[in-house]
Symmetry: D2
Amino acid sequence: MARRTAAMLYVDCVSSLASMDFRMDEWGVDLAVSGSQKGFMLATGMAIVGVSQKALEASRSAKCSRTFFDFADMAGANDKGGFPYTPPIQIMYGLRASLDMLFEEGLENVFARHARLAEGVREATRAWGLELCAKCPELYSDTVSAIYVPEGFNSDALTNHIFDTYGVSFGVGLGEMSGKAFRIGHLGSLTDVMVLSGLATVEMGMADLGYPVELGSGTRAAQEHFRNTAKVALKSAA
Amino acid sequence: MARRTAAMLYVDCVSSLASMDFRMDEWGVDLAVSGSQKGFMLATGMAIVGVSQKALEASRSAKCSRTFFDFADMAGANDKGGFPYTPPIQIMYGLRASLDMLFEEGLENVFARHARLAEGVREATRAWGLELCAKCPELYSDTVSAIYVPEGFNSDALTNHIFDTYGVSFGVGLGEMSGKAFRIGHLGSLTDVMVLSGLATVEMGMADLGYPVELGSGTRAAQEHFRNTAKVALKSAA
Amino acid sequence: MARRTAAMLYVDCVSSLASMDFRMDEWGVDLAVSGSQKGFMLATGMAIVGVSQKALEASRSAKCSRTFFDFADMAGANDKGGFPYTPPIQIMYGLRASLDMLFEEGLENVFARHARLAEGVREATRAWGLELCAKCPELYSDTVSAIYVPEGFNSDALTNHIFDTYGVSFGVGLGEMSGKAFRIGHLGSLTDVMVLSGLATVEMGMADLGYPVELGSGTRAAQEHFRNTAKVALKSAA
Amino acid sequence: MARRTAAMLYVDCVSSLASMDFRMDEWGVDLAVSGSQKGFMLATGMAIVGVSQKALEASRSAKCSRTFFDFADMAGANDKGGFPYTPPIQIMYGLRASLDMLFEEGLENVFARHARLAEGVREATRAWGLELCAKCPELYSDTVSAIYVPEGFNSDALTNHIFDTYGVSFGVGLGEMSGKAFRIGHLGSLTDVMVLSGLATVEMGMADLGYPVELGSGTRAAQEHFRNTAKVALKSAA
């Protein structure tokens, strides 16, 4: 899809790359930024950047300040098989192993697995009678679900209580969602069984704080979803 | 408790040491055998053996065959700070770290944690309407629960199905329990949240195979138990 | 040492911090930058920055572009025990272990060890009849030695040959030293015995390429130095 | 080579397998024992046993005591893809990686590498004017060299001094060699450069204790050997 405009399409795919479909060239993306610590299942420490020919050319005459990373430094060193600065070798070896895992599972299967896990979380949310921040399926993310707490409850109190009592860390609501929503991440090296653990924990926390939510209801809804889709998952992997 | 008999008290504490109370001297134990891979939370590769003075003396004149390990070889080398054979250094360093973790938590807290987790598994078993192999509380183990499947079901079919479908490995029934019971291990570096994950998985497996068990019932019973005892757990840790 | 000037004193201590003495406050340093991957003996992935009150205040009104790291972001999050971005947790745990190692050895001993190892490298350089880039002892670094190759030789050919033939990587000459000098790094978790290995390797490479250097001469000079100072090293550690 | 005798040929290849050639079937070996921690470059924790059909059959009627390991237990479980006892999973995964490394280098190259490294140690021994315990080339081992110290010196004092002063651990003389010889191991993931480090250390220790050995002489002899054979090593790897 060629774009006849000077505008650039930038994509922050930190929390989605390698867990959900992404097509840089086909979608006409000019700059994509990701990291080692999410879908690639590695330690923090390496940014992964994709740049289109158009953006690369624009960077040569761009006037915006750049203090840390310049495509020209990197391209010059990379051409000779090197790096302009000390590279995170350990993560580059790790990336090789991550890619092996991802390709062995098959990207189609990786994406299908995340879609199935995410739907389990959404089924649990519905069983709890709570609402996703994403208002319609087109906005659903298969790697993270932000969930509104009921009126009169503070989502930060929930995540703090769960961390203190059960030792599990959930994401807080960011920006205008602060105090109103919490986030369940579901990406990377994750299985249905691991998701159930997180859902059961959220339920204990909500029950402890008097939420109008039936204990076990979301876990059971996710169990049903996972049971009913287990064979499909097995089939698509075969 | 001095024993006035030539008989020896041997204890297999492979699956209990460092997770449940054990008092070698106070209980008059002559020989205790454990391993690195259970309560000590390490890789397989090191046996841990305790021997009483009485057993050590008896070993000098014992006629039973011994082809591999002799207390005399070990004691002689240990006296000089050495080992008669190549020792598993990596596990000995690991044991130092494991002991630090156990002592930091406090043995009393470690034992209480295992008792609480085990009771959660037993509550789930009751909610499922199933029976433990241990017939009375005195026989309960806080590190593993063996559970009878209902008449007409084969426990090996259950553990095989769960492994194939959900990637989780439960213990099979051993000896005369073969096919009649499966085992849930609950020891080592384990939390309530991790136990819920296992229980929810067993339920999916039983539901898949048509067990007369309500999906989610055991998980919910364990959630109730863990919620109600969470503060106690926190208090005893403080 | 209070400075009565608006000028700032910036120190790049990437390759020296934790191996050589550094006194930020006492020396009136305004900004010091280091990393995880040298003296702290960790993987690449974390910058370590020190900033004086004076520089912090200046940063509030500074007009220079900053696109990546702002003290204000970091200070705000740190105050609440957090980070503005995903932190490299694994390296922060590693840093705890590195600091334990450094403090157990004792910083005075760590600095003395590097001075002793560096002098071994300098003794070898003298025995080879070669010259250090550092023209006088005040300029010597105890963490890296840059060494001129003789007239008519190319230092890059030497480092390439050694890498290809012996699998050891030495630093190339940077900037105007390119082709004229190579660098031997000697910092971090390093012993006299490990230094000898590097020196013997450099000698093999120089002999292979026809350098007017006697094989084994530098290694022997360093052996003499290490032998003669071994007791001192032991004593200062006691 | 079929053997027409009831006698069995047992081989202890703990310190040689995967570093030197070994042909169980071709040489008519009945029982071979090795371990994970030498040529396979792994942690201690797994025995590796090879058994001929003849020995396997003999074991069925053998009367010698066996308390720990029985081929029948192992064969029965292995047939069903299992183990009779808890297996050292971590070492089995490690073995897969070790074998990948060995096969990538090529067994012929692995054996040639050990022969070259061993000859370097022997050249150093000759330069020191010392004698190997192995009296003729047919008895040389390419994985370990036992070296007599001169009359009037105690080899244990040497290994103790080197460990205390330089932090390097060499093998003591075993059995009747006790006090008379020390051992340099040279197997596994080892390079010429690493060997030089060990030789230079032995020299410092001998010089410290007044041995009639010229400092640096053995290191230099090994450097010469490694230089002269580096191209051969490179060629055979190509």
